[in-house]
Amino acid sequence: MAKVVDVKNLFKSFTFPVKSAHKNFIQNLFTPDKRTVQAVDGISFSVEEAETVAFIGPNGAGKSTTIKMLTGILYPTSGKISVLGFNPQEERKQLAYNIGTVFGQRSQLLYNLPLTDSFELLSKIYELEPKKYQKQKNNLIELFNLSEIIDQPVRKLSLGQRMRGEIAASLLHQPLIIFLDEPTIGLDVIAKQKLRENLTNINRELKTTIFLTSHDAGDIESICERTIVINHGTIIYDQETLNLKKIYLNKKIITIELEKIIDKKIPPHQGVEIIKQKDNMIEIIVDTTQTTLERVLKNVISELHIVDINIEDPPLEETIRKMYETQKAR
C-alpha cells in the first residue's frame, strides 16, 4: 500500500503580542512582548492508501492545526509534510484537486440556493467533465440518500441532511483522501449513525482514505481502523482502534430513570459500578471486559421498573486523561 500522508517531525508554534504592565502605550504598540504557544510539538506519522484514521485529542491538543497544515492552509514552523506526494504549502492548489475536506462547523454550501447549485459550482471549481460530474453526482445522491433534498435550499435542510450534503459535495471530484474535522458535531443519534454508515461505505466502495477528528468515541469505533491520539501537540497513542477499544473504550455509562423512588441500595454486580443513585435516577458504569451490556440490561430490566434509559460512552477527555496517566506511569 502506498503512503498517502507522510509527516516527519512536524512543529507549529504561534507567536502573538501581549501587553506588558511594565511598558507604556507606545512601547506596547511598537515593541510589545511576545508569547509563543507550541500547538504541534514534533509529531511524525504516516497514513496508507484506503486507511481510515481517527486523529483525536482534547480541545487545544493540536488536531485542527495539524489538519490545516496537512491541507496546506497553515505553514509549519518546521518539519516535513507530504500528502499524496505533494508539499501542501508549496502545491496547495494542485493538492486541493485531489483531496476533500469537511469542517463540521463550517459550510461549503450556498446557503440560500438549492443543494444542486452548490454541486454545480463545485463541479466547475474542480473542473469536472460534465459527463463524469453527472455520473458522480448520481452516485452520491444514491449513496447519501439525497434525492429528496437535492432541490431544496440549503437553509431549509436539517443539520443531519446538511452534513450529508457537505460530505457528498466534498466527494464530487472523487478525492483520494478526505479530511473530516468533527463531522458529526451537533447531530442526533440517527443522523450520526447514517453518516457513519455513509463514510464506511465510501471507504469500502471508493477506496477513499479517511482522516477524521472527532470528540465522539462512537465515530472512531464505527469508522476508523486506526487511532492516533494527540495531546499537548504530541502523539501519545497510535494503534489499531480495536486495541484502543479493549484497553480504554471498554466502559459504558448507563443512566436509568425509574418509575418511582426506591429506598434500597442496588446490589453490586460483577463489572458494574453504581456511580450515582439519587431519587429515581441511577447512573452505573459497566466494564465490558468483565460483563456484557446485554447481561447488565437484562438484569436491570428484570429487577427495576424503568421509565427511561440512556447508554453512552465516557467522555473522550476522560479516556485521554487515563491514557496520559498510563503513559506517565510507565
Partner: protein, 274 residues
C-alpha cells in the same frame, strides 16, 4: 495513485465565471437588500444633484471651466460605477477570517483573492444595472442630458472603467490581506477607502479640485479606479491615453504587491487559534 491536474484555460475561465453567476443568483435572492441599496444610491444622487444645482445657481454658470451638467454627471458616473468596485471584499475577508470559514475557502483549487473579486462582481452587477436604469432618467429630468460623446471617447471611457475595476480589485485585495495580520485592520481600510472616495471624485469632481489636489488625484493609485469619471472634462480627448497608461502601471504594481503580500501572509496565517 493517479493525480488530477489543473485544467485548461477554458476550464479556469468557466470556473471563475461560474462563481460570478452563482453569486449573482444569490444576490437576486436577497431582493430587499438589493432594493434598499438601489434606493439609498438613487437618493444620494438626487441630493448631490440638487446641492450642485443650488451651488451653481449661487456661484455662476461654470466653476474651473466645468458647468453644472458636467459636474453632476461626473459624480453620477462615480456613484453608478461604485458598484463595479471592490470595497466590500475587505469586510467579506475580515468576516470569513473571524468566523473561520476562510479555512473552507482555502481548501479549494482556486486563487482565494481572485475568487473574492469574481464573487464581488456577482454582487455588484445587479446593483449596477438597476442603478443605470433608474438613475439616468432621473438625472436627465433633474439636470438635463449628459454632454454628447464621440464613439472613440465612449470606448476609451469603457476601457478606463474596466481598468479602473482592475485597479480597485488590486488595491482592495491588497489591503484586505491586512485582516489576516492584525486584529483590527478597519483603520487601514478607512484611510484607503476615504482616499479612494475623495481622490476618485465621489463628492466633488476632480476638475473642481485645487491644482495640487488634482495632481495628487492624477498620480496616486487612489484616484486611478475612477478615472472614467473624467469623461465629460473638456480635455478628456487628449488625457485618456495617459490615464489608461497610469491605470495599467498601478494594476501591475498592485498585483505584484498583493502577490508578495499574500505569500508572506500565508506563512503567518492563523484561523481560530489554529
Amino acid at each position: 495513485m493517479k493525480h488530477k491536474k489543473p485544467g485548461s484555460v477554458r476550464q479556469h475561465i468557466a470556473k471563475y465565471t461560474a462563481i460570478t453567476a452563482v453569486t449573482l443568483k444569490e444576490t437576486l435572492y436577497h431582493r430587499n437588500k438589493l432594493i434598499s441599496t438601489v434606493f439609498i444610491s438613487t437618493f444620494r444622487l438626487i441630493m448631490l444633484a440638487l446641492i450642485y444645482k443650488y451651488a451653481y445657481a449661487y456661484l455662476g454658470t461654470t466653476i474651473n471651466g466645468i458647468d453644472q451638467t458636467t459636474a453632476v454627471w461626473s459624480i453620477a458616473i462615480y456613484h453608478i460605477l461604485l458598484f463595479t468596485q471592490f470595497r466590500s471584499i475587505f469586510r467579506t475577508i475580515k468576516s470569513e477570517h473571524q468566523k473561520g470559514s476562510l479555512e473552507v475557502q482555502l481548501n479549494k483549487p482556486y486563487n482565494y483573492l481572485v475568487y473574492k473579486c469574481f464573487e464581488q462582481l456577482g454582487k455588484g452587477i445587479p446593483n449596477l444595472v438597476i442603478n443605470l436604469v433608474i438613475s439616468i432618467p432621473i438625472l436627465i429630468v433633474l439636470v438635463g442630458p449628459p454632454p454628447a460623446l464621440t464613439p472613440l471617447l465612449a470606448v476609451s471611457a469603457l476601457l478606463l472603467t474596466i481598468c479602473g475595476t482592475l485597479v480597485s480589485a488590486a488595491i482592495y485585495a491588497c489591503i484586505s490581506l491586512t485582516n489576516l495580520w492584525i486584529e483590527d485592520a478597519e483603520p487601514v481600510f478607512w484611510i484607503v477607502d476615504k482616499a479612494v472616495l475623495i481622490l476618485g471624485g465621489a463628492y466633488i469632481p476632480i476638475a473642481l479640485f485645487p491644482p495640487r489636489a488634482q495632481t495628487a488625484a492624477h498620480f496616486s493609485p487612489f484616484g486611478a479606479p475612477m478615472f472614467a469619471t473624467k469623461i465629460f472634462n473638456p480635455n478628456f480627448a487628449y488625457e485618456w491615453p495617459s490615464l489608461l497608461l497610469m491605470q495599467v502601471v498601478w494594476i501591475v504594481v498592485f498585483i505584484l504587491l498583493t502577490h508578495t503580500y499574500y505569500k508572506a501572509t500565508q506563512k503567518v496565517l492563523a484561523i481560530n487559534g489554529g
